[in-house]
């Protein structure tokens, strides 16, 4: 195990976001705060509770999920895309490191950032709306599991992308809509019947609901399905990454 390499990559990646601290942390915190002000306080005040949870509190897990997904994907994809773009990837490719060590460094750093952000947003939310977390341990498990899984996905995206636009397209055009439509702002029961079924094809529904269950003990779907889906997605990502390194896809000429 090349411990020094893992540490070097990990610290380098964290240092990269320290340089852009304002964008990395302030931007998501500000946008989430706006959601709480608009949806939580302004509109939420006129909404009834959902399963005994105030509307402001109801949207907290979904909004954190939105940040976790988009930040994990963009951080991890950018982390590996940048050296490909500038050419500094030569050093990584010529270094005595295994796939596992590379992942531990890049994905570990990206997931760390997401987890820190998730916790910060959780704290911010607490300022706007009062809530209590029913299953704190499960909340932590979901936080870590989802950050790691989507950082793995971001890593794949960063290896696949051949331009900056592609890096942005996936979080912006796919993840954000899926999360918005994935029950962040509503319970599936509030939808008219055909939509209630259609929405179940959106994988983010299961993530948001699993996370919400950890918070309040309520969910539209079974928590086991949420965990199972996340685990399957993680295994698929790991498989793709193993294949990338085996074939050298877009990394080695």
């Amino acid at each position: 195990m090349n411990f020094f390499a893992v540490r070097a990559i990990y610290m380098f990646e964290l240092a990269r976001s320290r340089r852009t601290l304002l964008q990395s942390i302030a931007a998501p915190v500000i946008s989430t705060s706006l959601y709480f002000i608009v949806f939580g306080s302004a509109i939420g005040g006129r909404m009834t509770t959902i399963d005994g949870v105030s509307y402001g509190a109801f949207i907290v897990p979904g909004l954190i999920m939105l940040t976790l997904l988009t930040e994990s994907v963009s951080n991890a994809s950018f982390g590996i895309y940048l050296p490909r773009f500038t050419g500094t990837i030569y050093e990584l490719l010529s270094a005595p490191v295994s796939v596992f060590e590379v992942l531990l460094g890049y994905v570990g750093a990206a997931a760390t950032k997401s987890i820190i952000l998730g916790v910060i947003i959780l704290g911010t939310a607490r300022i706007f709306v009062p809530f209590d977390i029913v299953h704190p341990v499960w909340t932590g498990i979901f936080l870590v599991l989802i950050s790691v899984t989507f950082s793995l996905f971001g890593f794949i995206l960063g290896v696949w992308a051949d331009g900056f636009e592609k890096l942005q397209v996936v979080p912006l055009m796919i993840l954000s809509p899926l999360t918005f439509l994935g029950g962040t702002f509503y319970s599936i029961d509030m939808l008219p019947p055909p939509w209630r079924t259609i929405v179940l094809f959106n994988p983010v529904v299961y993530l948001v609901n699993g996370f919400r269950w950890a918070f309040y003990g309520i969910a539209d779907v079974t928590v086991a399905v949420s965990l199972g889906l996340t685990a399957i997605f993680m295994i698929v990502c790991l498989g793709v990454i193993a294949w990338i390194f085996k074939t050298g896809y877009r990394l080695r000429g």
Binding site: A5, R16, L92, V97
Partner: protein, 310 residues
């Protein structure tokens, strides 16, 4: 001699179908400075890329200090340092950080004293806290060299280290290469400045269109393939045929005042019969004013070798 890098039947066909390396066999000796010469597109960077792990070979194998670069890549790569041809740097890092990063990446425990030594040797010490983006091109190249040396490699690849570099840096760089060799580091470099190879290298390999054309000890190469041209300036125009002075093919200029011939070899002891010729000239009463012997440079040899094949 004990080889440190062994390349066996190496083939590389790029996805584009381009056959960049054709069954390359090459042994680099421990502790030598090996210059790899070849025209643009010959396959130098590709060959270095395969050895360092950047390019996947199509066939064949490579060992570095006894470790296979594929099956035992950890041991192999830990011993290799690479200064790439392209200036690829992490713009926003500081010099000290990026060099320390390299050391860690190659699995070595931090050693600030070593990093300081490298930075001082490369005249980068006063820039250690500068962002790389603020450095000049030559300084960036120094940073790349510092990064390659950070993990104390035993084999150093320099892919055109002196391209676009001023005289002073070039001199510094060669001084450093010599110092490294004294420490037992094996150095493989590519260059388009042939006088550089002539000055620095112990052995020279010429690659053209993906094939190794020749690998030779520098002196032997010059001896074997170098040509010496002898030009004799006569006082009076010569009227008789030059064949009167021996069997060797000689040419006489139109005005009959210059006699010249060429022989293979470096000159020196084997003088191609110059002394003999001079005696014959004297015996026939031919007076001369000048004798010039012109040894061909490595560059001429190189042009000959590569020209023949293209």
């Amino acid at each position: 001699m004990d080889p440190i890098v062994v390349v066996s039947n190496l083939d590389k066909i790029y996805a584009s179908g381009h056959h960049a390396l054709k069954s390359i066999n090459l042994e680099i000796r421990r502790g030598e400075i090996f210059a790899l010469l070849g025209p643009n597109g010959a396959g130098k960077t590709t060959l270095i890329g395969v050895i360092c792990g950047l390019v996947r070979p199509t066939a064949g194998s490579v060992t570095a200090d006894g470790s296979d670069i594929a099956s035992d890549y950890r041991a192999a790569r830990a011993k290799i340092g690479l200064v790439p041809q392209e200036l690829a740097t992490d713009m926003f890092s500081k010099v000290w950080d990026t060099v320390s990063f390299s050391r860690g990446l190659f699995g070595k425990a931090p050693n600030p004293a070593h990093i300081e030594r490298i930075l001082r040797e490369l005249s980068l010490w006063d820039k250690k806290d500068s962002q790389i983006v603020a450095l000049s091109g030559g300084m960036k190249r120094r940073v790349l060299i510092a990064k390659a040396l950070a993990h104390e490699p035993r084999i150093l690849f320099l892919d055109e280290p002196t391209a676009g570099v001023d005289v002073e840096l070039r001199r510094d760089m060669w001084a450093m290469v010599r110092r490294l060799r004294e420490q037992g580091v094996t150095i493989i470099l590519t260059t388009h400045y042939i006088e550089e190879a002539e000055e620095m290298a112990d052995r020279i390999g010429v690659i053209n269109k993906g094939e190794i054309v020749v690998v030779e000890e520098k002196q032997a190469l010059m001896r074997k393939l170098g040509q010496t041209t002898v030009t004799i300036g006569l006082k009076q125009p010569l009227r008789t045929s030059p064949s009167d002075f021996g069997e060797r093919p000689m040419t006489l200029s139109e005005d009959g005042l210059t006699l010249s011939f060429t022989f293979t070899g470096e000159g020196g002891e084997e003088d191609g019969g110059v002394a003999d010729l001079v005696k014959r000239l004297a015996a026939k009463g031919v007076d001369f004013k000048t004798i010039n012997m012109n040894r061909s440079s490595l560059e001429d040899i190189f042009v000959d070798l590569v020209g023949e094949r293209s």
